[in-house]
């Protein structure tokens, strides 16, 4: 069973004759005997998911790492977080995926208008199954709990992913009137309701 371990900003992936998928170009060093190969359409989930991804503009480029040894993976000196999945689903922005173990399934979920406003594509990626997924973030990730009575509003640029029974919708933070003629700011935010966790990074852009 391949094992992912986060060490500050480097992910250690220990392979034992099996395979992981990792973001293309994220390998910084390797020990042992490991083969790298492009995953073709990339991202896993088969042809249909790849097609959906192409339509949705959710870009993800993964490579297969197989063999025995340890692979060191890193991306832009961003912090690394390993999340264990045991049959549940993690929703994550594809640009935050560094690597995942073979048994996990990646799929594309359309998220409606949200992608339009955050400029991060029309869709988000869901990761499901049993295994581990490694996420990168600017600064450490905070896990913020959402529960009835504790709704959460997040800046689209700080949003990394979420887990649980959540529904997401857009809220307008700063009123339209005040934004006329001003380029920056937070015209839209994401409001989460339901039960679950939202992962937020500490840099807003």
């Amino acid at each position: 069973m391949a094992q992912l371990t986060a060490h500050k900003r480097v992910l250690h992936a220990d392979l034992h004759g099996d395979r992981i998928r990792a973001a293309s170009g994220s390998m910084v060093a390797v020990e042992g005997n490991v083969d790298f190969k492009s995953s073709g359409m990339g991202g896993g989930g088969g042809m249909r998911a790849a097609l959906k991804r192409a339509v949705a503009g959710e870009s993800i480029s993964l490579m297969d790492c197989s063999g025995s040894g340890r692979v060191y993976l890193a991306l832009d000196a961003m912090d690394v977080l390993v999340v264990d999945l045991a049959g549940d689903t993690l929703t994550v922005e594809s640009e935050h995926i560094l690597a995942h173990t073979e048994q996990l399934r990646l799929d594309v979920q359309f998220s409606g208008l949200r992608g339009v406003t955050s400029g991060q594509g029309l869709a988000t990626t869901t990761v499901s199954g049993h295994g581990q997924v490694a996420l990168v973030s600017e600064g450490p990730v905070m896990a913020l709990e959402v529960a009835p009575g504790a709704e959460l509003v997040v800046d689209p640029d700080a949003y990394v992913g979420s887990r649980g029974q959540l529904s997401m919708n857009l809220v307008s933070g700063v009123s339209w009137k005040s934004l006329v003629g001003e380029g920056s700011g937070e015209p839209f935010s994401l409001r989460f309701t339901g039960h679950g966790l939202v992962l937020v990074q500490s840099a807003e852009r």
Binding site: M1, Q3, L4, T5, A6, H7, K8, H12, D14, H16, E31, G32, G69, R70, L81, V82, V83, D84, A86, G87, D88, H130, Q132, E138, G139, P140, V141, M142, A143, L144, E145, A147, A150, E151, L152, V153, V154, D155, A158, R163, G173, V174, S175, K177, S178, L179, E182, S184, G185, E186, S189, L197, V198, L199, V200, Q201, S202, A203, E204, R205
Partner: protein, 323 residues
């Protein structure tokens, strides 16, 4: 004025100027939860892999993988935070600060990461027409459009480009800080534009939050600082600009002929004298501050029409040179 509680960066003050720990608020771990797995020895390669980590308490399902507890970094989602467990007016981690909002705060546009509760953001320009006190507190037309008023009740998380964030308590003092590094300040404080371009001055008693690229270094005058590394200064007179003597002699002819002297950037320093404290950040990365353009533009009103025309020609020439 007081400085951030404790020294979160381990090392003492290398300049021996300002005592840091215990200054102001009680010291302690200002960042709440320690980073999981940092500083722990990595599991040796070749050893049998440790089992998947135990999930954090109260979260998710138990993974079906057995095995001994990991000796490396605990995997899984970091400790869950909710409105109750988030700190009141303290750092969540070195890069995120949590404001327990109850009323109004001034906030830099774009600093908001997330919030719980019922909070509204209004542009300062908008809000000042509703609440007259806002205009008194925020007297900087150059920066006003980059700021919002956050009002309501809840927990507000702010961050700035992943820089280190620190809260500072100002006690009937005045502190000047680089405008692009000021993230938020309480409404009790008054903001004014500093004479030094790109800097703003906070006056009064209250709290403010500022970012720094790397830890903040406190120094006492007399001191010369690189303009990019300079974060701000407190209680001392505004700096004068010091030019390197060698650079001066080399460039004096060029200046007489009217060319704008440009060189390595190290020949120009800010010179501080008098009593007070200077704040430095340990990096020189500067961000393009949109307000600087507005600031310089407003200053051109001092020029006569003929002067403005010749300045315009020079600027056009410079822009063409860079292409």
């Amino acid at each position: 004025m007081t400085y951030p509680p404790g020294n979160p960066y381990g090392g003492g003050n290398p300049y021996g100027g300002q005592p840091q720990p215990g200054y102001g608020q009680p010291p302690g771990n200002p960042y709440g939860q320690p980073q999981p797995g940092y500083g722990q020895p990595p599991p040796g390669y070749g050893q049998p892999p440790p089992g998947y980590g135990q999930p954090p308490p109260g979260y998710g399902q138990q993974p079906p993988y057995g095995g001994p507890p990991p000796q490396g970094a605990p995997s899984g989602v970091p400790a869950t935070l909710n409105p109750q467990s988030l700190p009141d007016d303290d750092n969540v981690n070195p890069y995120v600060f949590c404001i327990a909002l109850n009323g109004e705060w001034f906030m830099s546009k774009g600093a908001m990461l997330a919030y719980y509760g019922n909070i509204q953001f209004d542009a300062v320009t908008e809000y000042s027409s509703v609440q007259a006190w806002v205009a008194n507190r925020f007297s900087s037309p150059v920066y006003i459009q980059d700021w919002v008023v956050a009002q309501g009740h809840g927990k507000l998380l702010i961050g700035d480009r992943g820089f280190d964030l620190n809260a500072y308590d100002l006690d009937d003092g005045n502190l000047t800080i680089k405008a692009s590094n000021l993230c938020a300040f309480s409404k009790q404080l008054e903001l004014k534009q500093s004479i030094v371009p790109g800097f703003v001055t906070l006056i009064g008693t209250g709290k403010f939050i500022a970012s720094s690229n790397g830890p903040v270094i406190f120094v006492e005058p007399p001191f010369r600082a690189d303009p990019d590394a300079l974060l701000g200064w407190a209680d001392c007179p505004s700096p004068s600009v010091h030019h390197d003597a060698q650079w001066m002699t080399q460039n004096i002819r060029g200046m007489i002929s009217g060319a704008l002297g440009r060189a390595s950037g190290e020949e120009r320093q800010y010179d501080f004298t008098g009593q007070g404290t200077i704040l430095l950040q340990s990096s020189e990365i500067a961000r393009e501050d949109p307000a600087v353009l507005r600031l310089v533009e407003s200053q051109t009103q001092l020029l006569t029409n003929a002067q403005a025309g010749s300045l315009g020609q020079r600027l056009v020439a410079r822009a063409q040179q860079q292409h």
